[in-house]
Symmetry: D2
Subunit: 333 residues, 4 copies
């Protein structure tokens, strides 16, 4: 297996999906060992650092990439298997950026009220106990929370020549902020441009569903990722697979549309997996799906629709690629 | 403990929250053993029964109740602890009612397209294996799914003299269609009218999150419920508590508003539980909450926002009432 | 023509559609001369009167009615022709009620921000110049605005035994807050309960589209209304007709659903008026409709979809009833 | 006055805002005489031409431009005064593209229903009578409708290096599909990139509000446009000015957010025009604004919030630039 390491210099960071030259070309089958900067470009290192002073929302979620995958053409399916995610710093940061987040008016849900206080929280990583520490800013409450690393962004170049901010989750993946994008998960993305041009970033040391305040425990990350290419078969929207679940992610507004997208994508997938008529897939998923909100705060809202494999007959998506990637990933750990 | 059994005659079924005379008065501390009719009034007993012919959407979700709880006044908190739920029939039914459900246009999301085929599925209960059987209608796929009984509706009379259809989830509870409303869960509802006037119904033998097609595996149900009253302290929106979780349910449109409601209610609850400032509660829940969609199909959409107790310091809501109800419920099983 | 005058005593005011005993029975063809209280129950008479202290949102929009229309049965169409609207007081009031309105978070769009300042504006009516006077509260700007009286609420009892707050616009009419509900307009409402049980209220001395802050220039009103009954033909959603326009009002959430409802209702109406296939009606209205937002602030948002008669061949809705009512109304002025 | 004519060759058409090299550099004060292709690239010239066969949604709304305006820098305000719009062909086309439009499910509002019939309508321009002719496709109804030319798209390059499809309306303008963008209107757009890089296209021979089916009477257009630059003062969202109205356009999802954006932008503008406190501007606009829906069908929904100048004291936006442009435009007619 070819193993490629890459750590971008600050001037190599990009802030969009699409629109950037690839940093390298890789072959399907390559294992990437990547470093990614945190969502704030490491601007928040103490509770004295205020996001309104140090963070420019046009330059957040710096991406590591994009990578050109040889042979990838529009209509193909890029498979990114996340082998391992490890914090690359001893602290993570979160903040309530003025007029950004889920429980505040924004530039879209535009009201006349004053913003919430611009507040920063710093979480210290305890790698022995595998925790990050929450400390109240308006009191003395403390609690250590389990470290659960995930990637907020993973995406390819969009279709139609569009270039989208790395704050955006969409059909091409992007800033889905889904806790399910973690070690052990394979992400399937439809390819829109030659080479796919995927990138990753926005590491979270942990995050609740919805990412209520708009920022997780943001931290630089070491990511090991296995890259594969499936010719053809591009899903309309991102699909995820873990040992236990098939999943699809819808990202749009209003949130019911995100759910509808994810649910319809799962109906299509169940048609492929089990040869089910769409009405039967609709019915079966009605009684079995899970539907957590991934983010309620980004340019689009993301909902993950999941089916637990244990409930259904055995079925292999993409000729069993996920299981194969799991086997291969064992060599890397 | 006083134990009261009640099975409504067909003419005693009600189809609203509010607007109906109580079927009986009960004291706080009473255990109720209730029977409830299925959402379709048992109109769908074979796949030949079509919902467009046999179901009138003005008369679905028949309620068992309402019950007048002595001493309950506006501003108080009704606690309903679900001790046990058991299917009362050997089959459940589900259907894709024309222009009703999550992946079809409706009277609200009004489009010009033709409806999806009016289709009925019948699920047989295997009580030995604790399963319900799915059988494809457009193919020969079959699978047995775990029985996971829950109540689609539990609610009190609304405020302001309103009377709402039993299809509606709202501030007063109602048709939340949340899988979390199952045995072992305590439901806290703010009281709006003297006596609270709560009712239950819409038993589901199982349901996925979102209840995509609009109908779960609908079935008549035996419910054992412990009723308690907390003077004062009415939550703004329904709260749930299980051994493992604190939860709040928001129900509105669009779906992001349902999430916002649930998330804000949890911020308030965390303020009560831990004395946290709202900004700290907002931050802490951002990193820890779960946020499954309960229904994406009803008059309002419902989202459950949850916090797993194991992540936080020990705290007792409502003076430990849930734990006390769990102890008392053991006597009933 | 039978002319009936009615001015409710304070204890006769009702705050719901449905759920109240009729104040009188009237025959189709009756002219009603009604007095209605303002939305705030006249609680705001000076800028010192704060809505947070004087207004209970469970008791706003007091209704004059309900009236039982003899012969009206479910499925029939109630026609209410507004002959004349005249301010019944020399002042109107508006206010930014905390957490109520279009540019503030609310109990639904629930955020953590502080409310906007609770502020009251009093508008003096100059009946000679037919104006109401705006006076800035945070500066010395003044401007006289044209008096344009309209009714914020007009509705019948809802279907399915529901009782809804007079703050709600819905399929049954209600708090649509549409400036088009003014003298010269006929309102067509589907009848849901015997007698229709309609009421009116929430007079506005004027209002912009959207009713941005949630309250118009609220004022007590003298209304002259001609009541007619069409057997059968109930529209699914409220329709309006003026000399120049056919209109339909959709009320739901999110706002695109309100628009969809209104647009589909107009497609249906154009099918009736011109025998058009729904695809042709869809196309023709695409190029001709107007679509102002009526309210963006109520329990449901309302959108009016309009077609200007002058663009189309002559057509008579409901056998020319509107023109007939216009003729009859001339006798009353 | 410098007058520049430009008609793009087919290979010079662009399909994005941002991401394309400017076709020329122009000085502020220039008058442009432009030709633009229709939204379908002239693919629909008979009712036999089906959009599903001839139209690729990645290549619609071809743009004429972008133009580099000398001296324009981020934070400046580009003023585009529309002097004249004239149909450049004798026919326009409209179509119900499968899964595109306002009364059908789409890739976002994703349902399982079949699409509406793919249908094309051709409108013949009668330049003598200034009409376009509607002919029913499913019957023999005909009607001539007034020609009311407008531009569906006018926009600058987006901020943050984004490149957006010419189907998108946003903060940078774009596919707002607002009937108000017609001869006599000045469009003010905040500049995001050096040179502004604006383009126009998507001419409509007429359109109803909402553009219900997703396509207006689409036609090639001759446009005369006066270009001016205001240093600084960039509005957050597009503003429009006509002799009779000040306007702002919000574009987002759900539609209430589009309205909120437009309304808040008008509050800001009224602060600038009259020195009003935001609470007074909020109140005054509540009683006076108009709020038509421009489109309910695009990637974002657009709402125009308007204030009629005749209601208010005289005030000059941007030092009276609109009036000045009107005077200058007289020389060109």
């Amino acid at each position: 297996m070819e193993i490629v390491e890459y750590r971008p210099r600050p001037d190599q960071l990009v802030y969009t999906f699409g629109g950037a030259e690839p940093v390298m070309r890789i072959k399907p089958g390559t294992a990437l060992k990547l470093w990614s900067e945190d969502a704030f470009n490491n601007a928040l290192t103490s509770v004295e650092d205020l996001s309104s002073e140090k963070v420019d929302l046009n330059f957040v979620n710096p991406q590591t990439g994009p990578f050109y995958v040889e042979g990838a053409e529009p209509g193909d399916t890029l498979a990114l298997h996340i082998v391992e995610l490890t914090p690359a710093r001893s602290y993570g940061a979160s903040a309530t950026i003025p007029f950004f987040g889920g429980l505040t008016s924004t530039d879209r849900t535009a009201f006349l009220q004053d913003p919430l206080p611009d507040t920063t929280w710093i979480y210290h990583v305890d790698s022995t106990r595998s925790t990050v520490g929450f400390q109240a800013r308006f009191g003395d409450f403390e609690v250590a929370l389990p470290l659960e690393p995930m990637l907020g962004t993973v995406g390819v170049a969009p279709p139609g020549g569009e270039v989208r901010s790395s704050l955006v989750p969409e059909r091409f993946g992007g800033n889905m902020d889904a806790p399910e994008v973690k070690a052990g998960t394979t992400v399937y993305l439809g390819v829109n441009q030659s080479g796919a041009l995927f990138s990753i970033g926005d590491g979270h040391y942990r995050q609740g569903e919805g990412e209520a305040c708009g920022t997780a425990v943001e931290g630089a990350m070491h990511s090991t990722i296995l890259v594969e290419l499936i010719k053809g078969g591009a899903p309309a929207w991102p699909r995820l697979e873990s040992d236990g679940e098939w999943m699809a992610v819808g990202s749009s507004r209003p949130m019911e549309d995100s759910w509808r997208i994810g649910q319809v994508e799962m109906v299509r997938w169940f048609g492929e997996l089990f040869g089910l008529h769409q009405m039967d897939a609709y019915q079966l998923l009605t009684q079995t799906a899970q539907a957590p909100i991934a983010n309620a705060v980004d340019a689009n809202y993301s909902v993950v629709v999941k089916a637990r494999k244990s409930l259904f007959p055995k079925a292999a998506a993409y000729d069993g690629l996920h299981a194969d990637l799991r086997r291969r990933s064992a060599e890397l750990l």
